[in-house]
């Protein structure tokens, strides 16, 4: 697969996940659905970081730092629901 085709594949995934975010959000407000929406957001962040930002083949520290950010945000949002 060429680099350009991989990028288009990432965009298709991002678009589909964006639509599923809205559908999941409209389905209810249970903790499970909130976790689902956050998981979708994490998947989108991963596509941007590894695909668009090309961190898949970057030094592990930088990839870990960037992937750690959405994970920290999603965990924080989920934990705030337990307040």
């Amino acid at each position: 697969m060429t680099h350009s085709k991989m990028l288009i594949g990432c965009w298709l995934g991002l678009a589909a996940l964006s639509v599923s975010t809205v559908l999941l959000g409209a389905a209810g407000t249970s903790l499970l659905l909130v976790a689902g929406v956050l998981l979708v957001a994490l998947a989108k962040a991963w596509l941007i970081i590894d695909g668009f930002m090309e961190l898949r083949h970057a030094p592990r520290m930088w990839r870990g730092l960037l992937l750690g950010w959405p994970i920290a945000m999603a965990t924080g949002v989920l934990l705030s629901r337990l307040i």
Binding site: A41, P59, L66
Partner: protein, 229 residues
């Protein structure tokens, strides 16, 4: 900087370059253990960051700033859940989805432009960057429409906690989008003048990385502000 801090950013190699040449130049080593460790060492040496290292530090700083705002929003929503639910009714999640698709499309086009420059097609890259600016322009028009609609309804910065955080978060992000559009436009013009080449496109990569950072932040902002009740 990328040379002096090579131990942080890795050696200079484009991601689309193959590693076979380096593999062939490695001397033969006896035994599978040594072969495996040599392969791992090669893989580790071949890992590199695109763009300039300074841009990555800027991205980390920006993500930290947005991270604080996002967590404050989440905690305030947990403490005022009914207020946030009622206030969010003024927002349209389909507009949020359109904003997301406009930004992501612009991100794709910018990434494709970098791929074209690496193949020495700067003319195509300039065109892709120009379309990326137009796609980002759709975001700006939609967002300004939303800002104007909310302001018209009286939901200003001081209306309640939700709208204070809404204006701060999305307004701060909007300013980043405006700067990103300027950078994309600047790079489109530089591409048109053939200022970048396959071996000299670190500045282009850095500018596009900034734009992807704007995308990355929005990916978390969108569900938090528009969707999660």
């Amino acid at each position: 900087m990328s040379t002096s801090l090579e131990h942080l950013s890795g050696p200079a190699r484009r991601p689309d370059q193959t590693r076979s040449g380096q593999d062939r130049s490695e001397p033969a080593r006896p035994g599978p253990v040594n072969a495996n460790s040599s392969e791992k060492q090669n893989q580790s040496q071949n890992r590199r960051l695109t763009g300039d290292l300074a841009m990555w530090f800027l991205i980390l700083a920006e993500l930290s700033a947005f991270g604080i705002l996002i967590l404050v929003f989440a905690v305030m929503q947990a403490l005022n859940s009914e207020l946030f639910h009622a206030s969010r009714l003024a927002l349209d999640s389909s507009i949020g989805l359109a904003l997301t698709l406009a930004l992501l499309s612009s991100g794709l086009l910018a990434a494709l432009a970098v791929a074209q420059v690496r193949q020495a097609r700067t003319g195509r890259a300039a065109l892709l960057l120009l379309v990326a600016v137009l796609s980002a322009g759709v975001y700006v028009v939609l967002k300004l429409g939303e800002f104007s609609h909310l302001a018209g309804l009286g939901f200003g910065l001081e209306y309640n906690t939700f709208f204070t955080l809404y204006w701060l978060l999305t307004g701060f992000h909007f300013l980043h989008v405006l700067l990103g559009i300027f950078i994309l436009g600047w790079m489109a013009e530089r591409c048109r003048r053939r200022a970048y080449s396959a071996t000299n496109c670190s500045a282009l990569e850095s500018g596009v990385l900034y734009w992807h950072m704007v995308d990355l932040v929005w990916v978390l902002l969108f569900p938090l502000v528009y969707v999660l009740n």
